[in-house]
């Protein structure tokens, strides 16, 4: 089954490229210390705002730091927060979706209406408010983004559950006297894993979108940690004289989110 899925994924050259980009960034996030030409926080105050050259492929920033090294190193923070928040968000969302879809009735109504309420707000608005009050930290970022993703995920999972809950095997499990939790996670969950996987990929793109944006707005990762969103925001005052400091991380973000989304679309279509 995984083989077929892989084959469908790699059927189109565009999707193959997207898969390569995602895997490439994942690899870089792990092994960047082996790749970077300079330390990502190493300064060279005499060489500020140096344009791209053989020495610094993507130039240097306002502290004379090598932009390429910072981009490579920055992949780790965005992927860690992105993956962690997506995992948490999808886990919570899937659980809620399973519960709502399986039990229906009042539980369902209450859960779904509360989630509607949460979804009524733009993610960025609520996340900004909460992060401003809690203070910026990687953990808070993960929690807030997970909280924001869960409702969307719960909705999708719930509708997937609805088409399975009346099947015979569920009824059989009930007759056997299995607990609710057993039915939810042992009987229903395996059947909707496909949906959950697609959901995970799509939410991952959204989550990275949110991480980058919140860092850009100043609610995320703290300097001098290399982080793409932060790099764009720090580079803005001198965009005119050193555009590479902004363009390079912006391109990195775009490449990652687009690639993940292309993969997600493909998975959903198949």
């Amino acid at each position: 089954m995984i083989g077929t899925r892989l084959r469908t994924l790699l059927a189109s050259p565009g999707v193959t490229l997207a898969v390569a980009v995602v895997l490439g960034w994942l690899a870089i996030a792990v092994i960047w210390p082996l790749l970077v030409p300079y330390g990502p926080t190493a300064q060279q105050l005499g060489g500020r705002y140096a344009p791209p050259s053989a020495e610094h492929w993507l130039g240097t920033d306002n502290l004379g730091r090598d932009v390429l090294s910072r981009i490579l190193a920055g992949s780790r923070s965005v992927l860690i927060v992105g993956l962690a928040s997506t995992t948490l968000g999808v886990a919570v969302g899937t659980t809620l979706g399973l519960v709502a879809g399986f039990y229906r009735g009042r539980v369902d109504e209450l859960l779904m209406r509360s989630l509607d309420l949460l979804m009524a707000f733009p993610i960025i608005v609520i996340a900004s408010v909460i992060l401003a009050m809690l203070g910026p930290s990687r953990l808070n970022l993960v929690l807030v983004i997970a909280l924001m993703l869960a409702p969307y995920n719960a909705r999708v999972v719930r509708s997937a559950v609805l088409s399975w809950r009346d099947r015979d095997f569920v009824a059989a499990a009930r007759l056997r006297g299995e607990s609710g939790a057993y039915i939810l996670f042992r009987e229903l969950l395996p059947n909707i894993m496909g949906t959950v996987n697609v959901e995970f990929t799509m939410r991952l793109a959204l989550s990275i979108f949110a991480v980058a944006t919140l860092s850009f707005l100043g609610f995320g990762i703290q300097p001098p940690t290399p982080d793409w969103g932060l790099m764009v925001s720090e580079g803005r005052p001198f965009y005119q004289i050193a555009p590479w400091v902004v363009v390079a991380p912006a391109a990195a973000i775009a490449s990652l989110v687009v690639a993940i989304n292309v993969v997600a679309q493909r998975l959903r279509a198949s």
């Binding site: 707000f121 608005v125 408010v129 959204l206 979108f209 707005l217 764009v232 965009y239 555009p243 989110v257």
Partner: protein
Amino acid sequence: MARSADSGLLRYFLRRLAVMLGLLVLVSVLIFAMVEILPGDVGNLILGQYATAENVDLVRQQLGLDRPLAVRYLDWMGGFLTGDWGDSWRLGTPLAPLIGRRLYNSVVLAGVAFAFVIPVSITAGIVSALRRDRLTDRVINGISVVSITIPEFVSSMFLILFFSLLLPWFPSSAMVPEDAGPLTTLRYLALPVIAISPVLIGYIARTVRASMITELGADYTRTAYLKGLDPRTVITKHVLRNALLPAITVIANQIAWLVGGLVVIEAVFNYPGIGQLLLQAALVQDVPMLEAIVLILAAILMLSNLAADLLYTMLNPRVRAQATGGAT
């Protein structure tokens, strides 16, 4: 028959309105509770860095912060409903005029954005449906898939690079001079509008495309063709009318996206709208301002969704029958 349908519609409208008001109250409680629970100190915010402990206490008393939470909530809501939104902790000035003006600015920006987005996205949706699976369709689809995922601040940076730094066509900041005429204003708003549009265009175009394809394959369309009607008439008179209905809901739902996008876009382009104000209020923990802005945004989002639902209900006979049937 017609009368009962109409009174049913009215009742449906009123019921929805009542539910919405109830939700708004709930939201206001949530906002109030959330902001009040989270840490942050007002005294220093008002008095600045040089405040003494006694002065901070004095200010807390003046603001009535020593009163119970429920009393403060009722006081806040009461003031809000009567137009007295209180003062910003940080600026010390009344919130209502400040927020009103910023909201107005955001509405201008949003209005220009919609004026650009709606025709473009509908055209794109129609074109891709008519040229289904051909190159045009694929290109439009590709663009919308890609554009939906790119954060607004990233696309803004590329827009500024190309159209402000490399080609000095548009200003990189959207601070419109006060005496600017409409054309100058548009020049200042061009980049933010283009930056915020792709997501909206993507969603609306895809909805229009999907519903167009459904309608094109519907029985009545085939019947019309079989009757020998001019294809152009069939499309403009029948297909379009039905196909655009779902777009209304999508457009209304996009208002939530737009508001979120505005927070970012306004920060990037220094546009003095409500999003920028919200961001600053959040960054410095100006609680009354945060509460007021979030509540107002919630109200706007709910109202626009309600309006879209009703519009949809009224324009679509099938849904209307259902809605009014349910109400009576």
